[in-house]
Amino acid sequence: MTPNVTFAHISLSDADSGHLKNRKSAAMAESKDAADEFPCRLTLNIPFPTPRLASTALRAIAVDRELSPLVRRSFSLVSAAEQDSESTEQNVLCVEYTASTNRSLRVAVNGFFESIGVVVSVMKELDVDVAYGPVEGGLDGVQGLQGVEG
């Protein structure tokens, strides 16, 4: 199954947005501090064909901690709320980034996209149902190639 990453719902916001509505006052104070320190935010929603793939992506990426102290990141699995379907399948990987500067936010998110790109291409080419298919992309300059029978 090919995960569809071309449709990734992204929302950007600054500190004083509707994110702070509907929270209890203590939590609101906490998140206001956090919002002051990390005013630049980005939320990514990446749909996968199945919950198994979404959870695999989450687990594979979450291992590496965020390198910059200026950036905070959290993952969750959510269901696709946009479609009008009955499905409550948690097949969407939701990533929330908050950062103290736009630059560090951009760098962190770019790094995330590079890693998720590897995850998705592994899923596309090497999952249990597709791993024996043809090899895409060319093998120019590869050492150790040998002809394969059959």
């Binding site: 291992v63 999952d127 060319g138 300059g141 590869v142």
Partner: protein
């Protein structure tokens, strides 16, 4: 048992599948693929670009390796990847692929120390029983001997690796990086005749190369053919010193240093065998000089060919499978990478 190995700590991405048949039969290389990120002459490889290269190649190399090995996913016991040491971004780019594969295929992960991978592959290929190991590459320079379940570091570089010294010197002379700069330096050195004085920096069991690189770089400028004859570097006899002479002189100097610290370790340990691993180990002059020293001591030098001494995935699969067979796996949460990973941090439970 069969293991898949993923290696990407420097500019080579290597994927290999190895089989350890039951009983004491030797391991079988099922497939060993590698692609090298070659930078233009005069440039080195930076972590970011190297990681981009690895991300672009990792999936098709794994797919092709599995194909060539003729195995099914069910046959594979574990997925081994380089935990370190090495360059951060390239290591991480390969580790992400390893983790994803581990989850999709339902196979355990084994994080492998790159240096231990080189050592174990060298031992397997050459059947050296208990050698002093000289591990020399672009990123590492260590003299290692095995003792009580650890690969102990007897001597090492105090600053840069010998391969790094040679590679950066190649950049100064704009020597091409294809297939790897050290190879082209070696070919030029074969045509060198004059031995130029270059600093020699052995410090006890250790050695140092950054000063030698600085000196060689300065000398390199006076071998520029565009300079008028009066400004060119000359030998005592008035012969003009060429790039070939410099390559020759650099090799003779740094390799002699390696021979000295290796011999010192052999004397300490009482060993008669030397195993040379790592990319610089493919240099024929180094093998020749090491051979002369070993023969003088009544010993032998062991070396492997480029398939195994240059970074490759098979060595990771092999060392990882050895570790896996002692019951060690790396949990997903621990499957990080680290730029610094000492060779003696690994518990060598598969040896007595």
């Amino acid at each position: 048992m069969i293991a898949l190995g993923l290696e990407g700590s420097a500019n080579k991405i290597g994927i290999g599948l190895i089989s350890h048949p039951s009983s004491n039969k030797p391991p079988i290389v099922l497939s060993n693929l590698r692609h090298t990120y070659v930078s233009p002459p005069g440039e080195g490889f930076l972590p970011k670009d190297t990681a981009i290269h690895h991300r672009a190649w990792v999936v098709r190399l794994i797919k092709q390796a599995v194909r060539q090995a003729g195995v099914k996913i069910e046959d594979i016991d574990c997925i081994c990847y380089t935990k370190g040491p090495g360059m951060g971004a390239p290591l991480q780019s390969v580790a992400v692929a390893a983790r994803t594969l581990s989850l999709l295929w339902g196979k355990p992960l084994v994080g492998v120390n790159h240096c231990v991978g080189h050592i174990e592959m060298g031992r397997a290929i050459t059947n050296a029983s208990n050698p002093v190991v000289l591990y020399v590459s672009g990123g590492n320079t260590q003299v290692i001997a095995y003792s009580a379940q650890r690969y102990r570091i007897f001597g090492e570089t105090l600053d840069i690796a010998i391969g790094n010294c040679i590679d950066r010197f190649a950049r100064t002379l704009m020597i091409p990086n294809d297939p790897f700069p050290g190879y082209n330096v070696e070919q030029l050195a074969k045509k060198g005749k004059n031995l130029v004085d270059i600093p020699y920096a052995v410090k006890g069991m250790d050695c140092s190369f950054s000063g030698i690189l600085a000196a060689a770089d300065i000398l390199a400028h006076s071998t520029n053919e565009a300079l008028p004859d009066g400004k060119r570097l000359k030998t005592e006899d008035g012969e003009i010193v060429t790039r070939e002479d410099l390559c020759f002189s650099l090799q003779e100097t740094v390799f002699a240093m390696l021979v000295e610290i290796t011999e010192r370790a052999m004397a300490h340990v009482g060993s008669k065998q030397v195993l040379v691993v790592g990319g610089v180990g493919s240099n024929e002059r180094l093998q020749q000089m090491m051979g002369m020293m070993a023969r003088d001591r009544g010993g032998t030098v062991f070396a492997t060919d480029e398939r195994f001494c240059i970074d490759n995935g098979i060595m990771i699969a092999h060392a990882g499978l050895l570790e896996y067979k002692t019951g060690i796996t790396t949990s997903l949460e621990d499957s990080t990478c680290t730029q610094r990973f000492r060779t003696d941090e690994v518990f060598v439970g598969w040896r007595d």
